[in-house]
């Protein structure tokens, strides 16, 4: 997909633009809270909120499209009638300051939630969303998006992509609503000069040169199509997995869930969908106690094979976006990069 339109936004015009956007839809952007955590937050008052574009948001966009817990239906049992009602419709939302890895993850989720039928609540939110990304000029410590082809800049998928050129943003519009926005608020922008283009390209090359982690993602994916992972690797990883689910929690592409009823009274309740993790022991355990997965040896097998083997085979791309959050969070040190390192080091028989 080609950028339909490119313009420059001087930095002093950013807040005036966002003020306009906030009138059109709910605006969500990264904000550093009192605890020092940078989290995607609904902007209530743009004049008193400082949007944090320096730090990596601790969570991805996942919670806004597949909330940690959401109502998929409410039910009632009244006078013998057992009926279900769909949830409230989604509201228009503009996300600002989203990193390339997290938009790539959202595009993956689009794929997952479209088969075999479009998931109603996911697509309702998705159809009411516009994502404005910010390309990364400086990768964070654990990032490896270059190895997963999901950054540091993007070529498609966004509503708008912002690239920080120092005193201004280089803004590219994607198809649809992003281009409409540029059209509508054109008076905030100025035309791109040759100098801006050169600056953008130079920053892109510099960003690519600053990754400290060298993770052989594609090599691991290709090797997995041909070779079996040694049992010792699975066992070694499992020994250090403490079933906390942290990796699945922060992962922007972990979309497994559980569905349960939550009674709200004798005659009514809600059916909720909540995050679940294949690393947890209860994930595959059946009524009666039989579990087809031996957690002591294979706690992490599904997680890594799904992302690197099956998704690569099915979609031609791993479903890891190199965001590095699992590297940050895993206190056992058995994140996806550990697996890739161990497996790519495994001798080919």
């Amino acid at each position: 997909m080609i950028d339909l339109r490119e313009l420059i936004l001087d930095k002093d015009k950013l807040y005036p633009l966002l003020r306009k956007l906030k009138k059109e839809a709910r605006l969500i952007a990264p904000v550093k809270n009192d605890h020092g955590d940078t989290l995607f937050t609904t902007i209530e008052d743009i004049d008193t909120t400082r949007i944090d574009l320096e730090n990596q948001p601790q969570e991805s966009l996942k919670p806004f499209f597949l909330p940690q817990q959401e109502t998929v239906a409410s039910y009632s049992v009244l006078n013998g009638e057992y009926t279900f009602t769909p949830p409230e419709p989604a509201q228009d939302t503009i996300f600002f300051g989203v990193r390339s890895c997290d938009l790539t993850a959202l595009l993956y989720m689009d794929l997952i939630f479209s088969k075999p039928a479009k998931d109603a609540t996911y697509y309702d939110r998705r159809n009411h969303s516009l994502v404005i990304t910010l390309g990364c000029n400086q990768p964070f410590d654990n990032c490896f998006c270059e190895a997963t082809s999901s950054g540091p800049y993007l070529e498609y998928g966004y509503g708008l992509q912002f690239i920080d050129l120092g005193d201004c943003y280089y803004v590219s519009a994607g198809r649809g609503r992003g281009a409409d926005l540029l059209e509508k608020w054109g008076y905030f922008f100025r035309e791109v000069t040759k100098k801006d283009q050169n600056r953008r390209y130079q920053l892109f090359l510099e960003a690519r040169g600053q990754f400290t982690k060298n993770i052989q993602v594609t090599h691991a994916c290709q090797k997995l199509q041909k070779e079996t992972v040694a049992e010792e690797i699975w066992e070694k990883l499992s020994q250090r997995c403490y079933d906390c689910g942290g990796c699945a929690y922060v992962c922007p592409t972990c979309t497994c869930f559980s569905v349960d009823d939550m009674p709200q009274g004798r005659s009514n309740g809600i059916r909720i969908r909540s995050w679940d993790a294949c690393t947890s022991s209860g994930f595959t355990r059946m009524t009666g106690g039989h579990n087809p997965i031996d957690r002591t040896r294979h706690a992490l097998k599904r997680r890594f094979l799904h992302k690197l083997k099956y998704d690569f085979a099915n979609h031609g791309k791993a479903s890891c976006t190199g965001c590095g959050r699992c590297v940050d969070i895993c206190f056992g040190g058995v994140d996806i990069t550990t697996f890739i390192d161990l497996f790519t080091g495994q001798e080919t028989p």
């Binding site: 998929v72 239906a73 039910y75 049992v77 013998g80 009638e81 057992y82 009926t83 279900f84 009602t85 769909p86 997952i112 939630f113 088969k115 075999p116 039928a117 479009k118 998931d119 109603a120 609540t121 697509y123 309702d124 979309t255 497994c256 869930f257 559980s258 569905v259 349960d260 009823d261 009674p263 309740g269 059916r271 969908r273 679940d276 294949c278 994930f283 595959t284 355990r285 059946m286 009524t287 009666g288 039989h290 087809p292 997965i293 031996d294 599904r302 094979l305 799904h306 083997k309 099956y310 085979a313």
Partner: protein
């Protein structure tokens, strides 16, 4: 857009007490205009008030639609709750889901059904379908044999159905692991019934029961010379959605809800599955 988590309302028309643990719930959709059909081997996501959903295979044949039978063993919260419901009560259903048995491959075959306990439920759908067809029809089965094993005589389910099957010419052979004073039939594992059975290249075997039983029966059938493409089983897994999203029923890159629950041994051998470790 499809409200993919909104079940359809169904009414319990009849409850058939199969044994102390198992009952068959005969359901009918309250909205009679809804197009609903299924094939033997498919399953439904069943909703019971306040208990969420569970994947349950359909035990009746499509020939008796609009009635749909679910034969359910009291095991967890939902399955225990439905056992306290009565005729006229309502449940919710979504589906049907999953790949059915390859019925077209079963025409003119000698069908061998091997079941353990509640595992007879999904196979019953196939047997009933073939019995519904007249024996003169082109796609009728050549012969139908059932080898059915249960823990004890009291655990035998579908007694009335089995009696009726026998009357219709099905060779039904039963065995129990532990006999009591009421039992004068076979004692021992269901695999032992295979000692006196001969299979041929025209045999198609359908196996369902506890994982350990499936494993040993399949090994035995293979040893008797049955081809991998002639042995079928239906797998049970923890499931939360039925539509390939929740991830719980993962099976080495496949999902039981979409790619199964019916698998041929040939398909399973290509996968890393605990029951059939390579």
């Amino acid at each position: 857009m499809t409200q993919n988590f909104i079940p359809e309302q169904a009414i319990i028309r009849k409850i058939i007490h199969e044994n102390e643990q198992i009952s068959t719930f005969r359901l009918e959709l309250t909205n009679k205009n809804l197009p609903f059909t299924f094939l033997p081997g498919q399953f439904l996501m069943l909703s019971v008030p306040h208990c969420g959903e569970a994947a349950i295979s359909i035990s009746s044949s499509p020939d008796t639609l609009p009635l749909i039978d679910l034969s359910i063993r009291k095991a967890g919260e939902l399955t225990t709750a439905i056992h306290s419901m009565t005729e006229g009560d309502q449940v919710g259903i979504r589906g049907p889901f999953g790949k059915p048995f390859p019925m077209e491959d079963f025409a003119n075959r000698d069908l061998l059904f091997i079941a353990g306990g509640i595992g007879l439920a999904p196979l019953k759908s196939v047997i009933d379908h073939f019995l519904f067809q007249s024996t003169t029809e082109d796609n009728a089965a050549q012969s139908i044999t059932l080898l059915y094993g249960c823990r004890s005589p009291a655990d035998i389910a579908f007694n009335e159905v089995i009696t009726s099957w026998r009357e219709q010419g099905v060779d039904c052979r039963l065995t129990v692991d532990e006999k009591d004073s009421s039992w004068n039939g076979n004692t021992g594992l269901v695999t032992e019934l295979l000692d006196h059975f001969k299979t041929s290249s025209n045999t198609r075997s359908l196996v369902c029961g506890p994982p350990i039983m499936i494993r040993f029966v399949i090994a035995r059938l293979s040893a008797m010379g049955c081809d991998d493409t002639s042995i079928f089983t239906t797998l049970e897994r923890h499931m939360k959605c039925g539509v390939g999203l929740c991830g719980h029923c993962h099976l080495d890159g496949k999902l039981v809800c979409l790619d199964g629950p019916v698998f041929s041994l040939d398909q399973l051998k290509k996968l890393d599955v605990m029951e059939f470790s390579r």
